[in-house]
Symmetry: C2
Subunit: 344 residues, 2 copies
């Protein structure tokens, strides 16, 4: 058991920074310990064209100006996108939301095999732009991801050169599907590696563990942990950390009608260190792959583009603060076994 883990260029490949003024509080909490992050476009209105992208990039740049941090952006998938648009857009990926499936996803895709949807995917395939997908149907909450898998399969087979990232996967079935298709990849959140539906509604009701997709069954969580830890040998750049960290004000969560989203940005690396160290005698190599190398390979990130951040984690207890700027984080008030010792 090691007492220290050093990570080079940790990346969070799925994060919500919100918009002004919140972005100024929340973006730095990611930028402090991560070298880069892929920032989701479902703000209001969504980041769906060059103009809104430039504006949002400026906001994020300003919010993270004091940190050694590289923000990457995803564009909100829409069928107005033309080949010409892609010539000018400085994006790492395009994020597809089924219409109305999660926070601020109105105006997303209504039909997964709409010819216009497929046209945009075809352009992306040609140009090597990664497609990120919130993969849920409108079915019964425990079936939404499972029932979406056939759509992933359809796209993966129709566009064999298109890299598709199944975002924030929560089921054993999604892990398996990623392993079966060369062009399917997945992000896994920090919290889905820890919780099941029991942690949402199994004891008391816990709005701060409530997110979309909802945490599933214990065997699903176990499959995610196996995939992240590479229990059955290295996964060839399949799975990467994407926290889906999503700050919502305490009063928006603890209400008669609470928002979906778990906030983990400032504690995600500590949680990962704990999980990997508890399960592996040599946690560093697998964790380095999960929080950085796999993302670099999938997105073909140039090491020179990154900030060469070195984060040292140490096995010493860290009590999670009860709030960050009015937002209650995952595991608020509880102890994580690992702390961030140094960021260089």
């Amino acid at each position: 058991m090691e007492d220290q883990i050093t990570l080079i260029d940790p990346l969070d490949m799925h994060v919500h920074f919100r918009q002004s003024p919140q972005v100024e509080y929340f973006a730095p909490l990611t930028a402090r310990t991560f070298s880069g992050a892929l920032i989701m476009p479902n703000i209001v209105p969504p980041v769906r064209d060059a103009t809104s992208l430039e504006r949002y990039k400026a906001d994020v740049q300003f919010a993270t100006r004091t940190e050694n941090f590289v923000p990457f952006h995803a564009l909100f998938f829409n069928t107005d996108l033309t080949e010409e648009d892609f010539d000018h857009l400085d994006i790492l990926s395009v994020k597809l939301y089924p219409d109305g499936i999660t926070t601020n996803s109105e105006g997303g895709v209504a039909s997964f095999d709409d010819p216009e949807v497929l046209r945009v995917m075809s352009i992306m395939e040609e140009r090597g732009i990664v497609l990120c997908v919130h993969g849920e149907t409108n079915d019964f909450v425990m079936d939404r991801e499972k029932n979406f898998l056939e759509r992933y399969k359809f796209w993966a087979e129709k566009f064999p050169k298109l890299k598709i990232v199944m975002e924030h996967i929560t089921t054993a079935g999604a892990v398996k599907l990623a392993q079966q298709h060369e062009n399917l990849f997945a992000t896994i959140t920090a919290h889905h590696l820890f919780i099941t539906l029991d942690d949402v509604v199994g004891g008391m009701i816990s709005p701060h563990n409530f997110c979309k997709p909802i945490a599933k069954r214990p065997e699903d969580r176990d499959a995610l942990v196996e995939a992240a830890l590479e229990i059955n040998g290295p996964n060839p750049h399949k799975f990467m950390l994407g926290t889906d960290s999503a700050p919502h004000n305490k009063s928006m969560k603890e209400s008669a009608c609470g928002c979906a989203g778990v906030f983990t940005a400032p504690i995600a690396l500590q949680l990962m260190a704990q999980l990997f160290a508890q399960n592996l005698s040599e946690p560093q190599p697998s964790l380095q792959r999960f929080v950085s190398c796999n993302a670099k390979a999938i997105y073909k990130l140039d090491p020179e583009d990154l900030s060469d951040k070195v984060v040292t984690l140490t096995k010493s207890p860290f009590i999670v603060p009860k709030e960050y700027h009015g937002v209650v984080p995952f595991m608020a008030g509880k102890e994580i076994e690992w702390s961030v010792q140094r960021v260089a």
Copy 2:
């Protein structure tokens, strides 16, 4: 389609009245429209002996003194109970809680085949006292009732003359089991006839729809509705209304760690009228069985013991109040198609 439904002696065979001072607010809300109710004993400390029973009976009697209402009591199942105790206890049933499974169930039964547990059941069988059970294991939240069914089966077969009421059932499997064993019966709540897990965590998180057992899948809800409505012909006194109405203060529900329980006492009959009228061209006979006759048959209630209350419901919209004494009811602020027109 009838526009009026008259019910004689409606009964709520599973309700939580809380204790002083709350009992004085909540008991009357049941006593106003119900002729009688079976009051659950999981207060603090639980109603587990003659002394605590007498005290609680007095509190309930006082709280409902102005209403034409018959309170029935259930005793908290415990292995201190002797044959002699049963000579003196004025109870309708004994309620078994697995240890720690729900609100105030500490000190419940830890092992379902403990000889001492079976000894008490054997006395109850001999004396014709009904056993009510909160049937959940400590497994994954969606499996708790399903995994408990084998225990019901074990008891039902071991004590063929013991009437066992599976309380607040939520699954198609439980409906089927009740139909397979002569001595198994079940209560169904009002809210489980309307909601699924989607209404708890499928959209926003809804603490006021959160209860134990948790609402399950759509096909489970459909099976409960079929059983209550007697879609496949009259059920021979198998299923009865037991609202499990459980008031928790708004602030105890809308919190980082919200209590389990749905409050339906003052709206349960209106909800039932709506459900039965929407689904049956002649709703009255089935509804009369579900809210009264079946309970009378199962518990062998003497009609003379009851209050002969006549409740007339009419098809005219009723807006559910947003709060009752600090408690947010089920469907707060929403419209139910039926109202209570007259209680005589």
